[in-house]
Symmetry: C2
């Protein structure tokens, strides 16, 4: 067997898996903030954060930007609408396209969680040198560009 | 209002969200490899990769390590068992603890996807300097340690 092809997949050293673990761990950390205070799940908060940041997106566009499982996001949107935190308006008569916005209550949740989330980010980055943070941001950007380049037809 | 607390949450600059986008984009890139060849979804491949790397874990432990939505993982495990790619054995008489292992067919899928996944990782890292990759790995590790420190009681 070719030695090159013989390299085993050591999952814990595999960058895509390491990124998944890190992303999930960090998201779970931030979740402690809004779960305790508002009983929100990760998909629910992510929907609120996206609708708060990018008002006027369609439900489909919001779901895409959550980067989470579609079924889980759909459940989250339904729950947020029922709870009066998200408003849904239909953009055309045949109801094919719906636009999501934060309700007054949803805006309150957003504006209360946002500074706590930012404080948690700061706490997380504590101990990293400025140049390490800068390299991290550059590398994330370049990996994204590279991934999109590879995946484009 | 205090200026410090007034900093808005710019989602696209927020590290937890950037990590989620990167992790999802990279996982989707790898997914092209096994979706095309074997029709596997991201949760299905992740279950195969974890069971292949850590045989003898319980179904619950496998699900935890996928870092994905529990319902999505449960669906994936059921589908893989039905497709004969994963074997489930019950560890005790009352069937409370089940152990997952790769079937012969599952092992074949794993061993065929693994080198393609590793090649995709290499392609993804193409263009990054060795020291950038080293910093990335160090920072991932330190962020994980920090996140676990913050979240420990």
């Amino acid at each position: 067997m070719d030695e090159k092809n013989d390299k085993p997949l050591i999952l814990e050293d595999f960058l895509p898996y390491r990124l998944a673990i890190l992303s999930h761990t960090v998201s779970s950390l931030i979740a402690r903030v809004y779960d305790k205070r508002f009983g929100l799940t990760i998909p629910e908060w992510r929907v609120i954060a996206i609708v708060g940041r990018f008002p006027g997106l369609s439900a489909v566009e919001v779901a895409e930007r959550t980067m989470l499982d579609k079924v889980a996001v759909s459940r989250a949107v339904t729950k947020l609408i029922k709870a009066g935190r998200i408003d849904r308006e239909f953009a055309d008569a045949d109801r094919r396209r719906s636009i999501l916005t934060l309700s007054e209550d949803g805006r309150k949740v957003h504006d209360e969680v946002a500074p706590l989330a930012l404080a948690m980010e700061e706490d997380l980055l504590h101990g990293l040198a400025d140049e390490e943070i800068a390299t991290l941001n550059t590398v994330i950007e370049r990996l994204l560009v590279r991934a999109r380049l590879i995946s484009s037809p």
